[in-house]
Symmetry: D2
Subunit: 164 residues, 4 copies
C-alpha cells in the first residue's frame, strides 16, 4: 500500500513572499503528481506548500514540534504530534523519499544535514549552499524553479532503506 | 483543516486471533466514521486495525520505530519513519485524540501510560488493567466490544492541547 | 572505562515524605557502592535520590525533559538536556543496567514499561503492580527496603545490549 | 550543583590524524579547566577528545545513538543510551553550554545547525563554513588551535535557557 511517493518540503517558519510563492507551487506540483507532502507543520514555507497541495487535492502531513495539534497550519490534514521540539526535524526528513529545501535558516540546515546523512536526496531552491567539506557526490542538488525541483525529487526519490 | 478526528489503535506486534478480529473491526468502525487511524505501523493488532480501516476506505498512518518505510504493514498508507525505536510510542499516542488499546505487552503498556500522562483518554479491550496506584479519574476505560470502544473514543476525544 | 555500574531511580516529581525518605536512602546506598545514579533530573523522588547520592559523594545524572538545564534539581551534577518532553523517559531507563521504581504515577509507569520492554530489570518499592497480563518471568521485582532494592538491582544489572 | 561547565565536542566518527590530534588536545584543555565533556560517544573525534580528557582526569559523557552501552568508546565514563539514532545529535548539543566542532561530515553539520538554532555558541576547528544565508551574528566562530577554541567556548558558554 506504500503506493504513493512521499516528499518533504522544508524551509523557514517565516519566509519571504518569493519563497512562499515558490513553496506553494511546489506543493501544487507534488499534489498533481499524487505525492504525499510531509513537512514540519508550521507557517512560512511549510504553510505555503500545504496550501498549494490542498488546492490540488493533495495529502498533507505536518510533523509538529510541540504538544498541540492546533499549532498546525490550516492546510495540514494529518497532524503528527511529537512533543520533541527540534528532534522532530529528523522525522520530517526520514519520512520522505526526497526533500525539497526552500530558503530557510538553521532549522532547515539541520534538516538538510540529516537528510544527506541518511542518504536522502535534497533538492534546493534558493537555500543553503554547503562548503567544500561536503562530499561532492551527495550534496544539495540545485533547481531553478518549482517544476524542476519536483521532477528531480521524484526521479531521485529513494525507494529503500535509509541509512542507520 | 483538522476536520477529521484522529484515534490511535495500540496493541501487540503479535497477537491472538481474537485480538486481531477485534482490532480489524475497530479499524472498520473508525473508517466508517471518517476517523484517521494512527498506529505503530507494524504487524499484529496494528496490521489488523489498518486492514479493517482500508476495507472501508479509511486513512491509515503508521509511525514506525525503525529506519525503513518498507517495514510498514501492507495496509499503512502514510508511513512516518522515526528511527527512534520505542520512543516512537510517545508520538503514536500524542498524535491521537483518543487511544484504543487491544491486548498487548510492555510496549502497549508504555503507550497506555504515556497517553494517561498526557491526559489522552484510553479505551481498553482485553488489555492491561492498572493497579490501585492509578488515580481513579483518568485510568483505562473498559469497553465490551469494538463498536462500544469506538463510540467511547469519539465521545471522549480530546479537542485540545495535550499536557506538557 | 565503563567500569561503574549505572542504575536509574524513577518515581514521581512530587512524592510523599516516606517515598522521599526511601529514595534518599536508595541514593546513598548506590553511591556507597560506586554506582552512577541516573534519573529524570527533576523534583520529588528524583531529587531525594540525588540528594542521598550526593551525601556519599556519588555521581548523579539528570536527563531533563525540557530545554533548560537550570530545571535540574540542586543535586544533579551532570544535566542532560533533551527538549523531548516525556520521550526522555525512554532514555532514562535505557541508560541504566537496572531500574529502581519508588511510588510514582503514569510517567513512572511508562518508564517501568519501557524498561521491561527492553529487558532491563525493575525493582519496585511501593510502586505499581502489574496485572496478570504481564509475563511472569520479567515483571517488577518487589523489594522491602532500600538496601534490598539496591542489592537486587546490582545483582540483576544487565551487562549487555538492551533489546532493540 | 551545576557548578561545572559542560562543553560538547563534535566531529566525525572517523577522522584524520590531524583532527584526532586536535580533538585530543581540546579534551585535555577542557579537563584541565574542570569542564564536563559531552560527545556522541563513538570513535574518531569523539574518542580522541574523550581520551584527552581522561588523561587529565576529566569527566566524559557519551550520548549514544544505538541501544548498546558497549558501543561507547573506551574513554567514555558516563554512557547515555538513547536508541534514537541521529536524533541524539540534538541532545548532544542541547546538553552543552558551548560546542567545539572539529572536522566532520553531515552528522556534524546537523549538530552545528541544531546548536545555532538553539542559540548555543559553536567554535570551529577545520570544520564546515556556512554560506551567506547564515545570519552573521550567530554563525560558527573560527579558532586557530585547541587552546583558543577552549578559551572561546568557555567565555561564550551559555548560562541560561536554550531557545525552544
Amino acid at each position: 500500500m506504500l503506493n504513493k511517493k512521499v516528499v518533504a518540503v522544508i524551509g523557514g517558519g517565516q519566509c519571504s513572499k518569493e519563497d512562499a510563492r515558490v513553496a506553494e507551487e511546489v506543493g501544487r506540483e507534488l499534489a498533481k503528481k499524487g505525492v504525499i507532502l510531509v513537512c514540519g507543520g508550521l507557517g512560512g514555507v511549510m504553510e505555503a506548500a500545504c496550501r498549494g497541495a490542498s488546492t490540488e487535492g493533495g495529502i498533507t502531513v505536518g510533523i509538529l514540534p510541540g504538544e498541540n495539534r492546533q499549532a498546525a497550519n490550516p492546510y495540514v490534514q494529518i497532524p503528527i504530534v511529537t512533543g520533541m521540539s527540534y528532534a522532530r526535524n529528523v522525522i520530517v526528513v526520514k519520512s520522505a523519499q526526497a526533500v525539497i529545501a526552500i530558503g530557510g535558516s538553521y532549522g532547515t540546515l539541520s534538516e538538510i544535514a540529516h537528510a544527506l546523512q541518511s542518504g536522502i536526496p535534497v533538492i534546493g531552491l534558493n537555500t543553503w549552499s554547503l562548503s567544500q567539506n561536503a562530499q561532492q557526490d551527495k550534496s544539495i542538488i540545485p533547481a531553478q524553479n518549482p517544476g524542476e525541483a519536483v521532477d528531480k525529487a521524484l526521479s531521485l526519490a529513494k525507494t529503500n532503506i535509509t541509512k542507520p
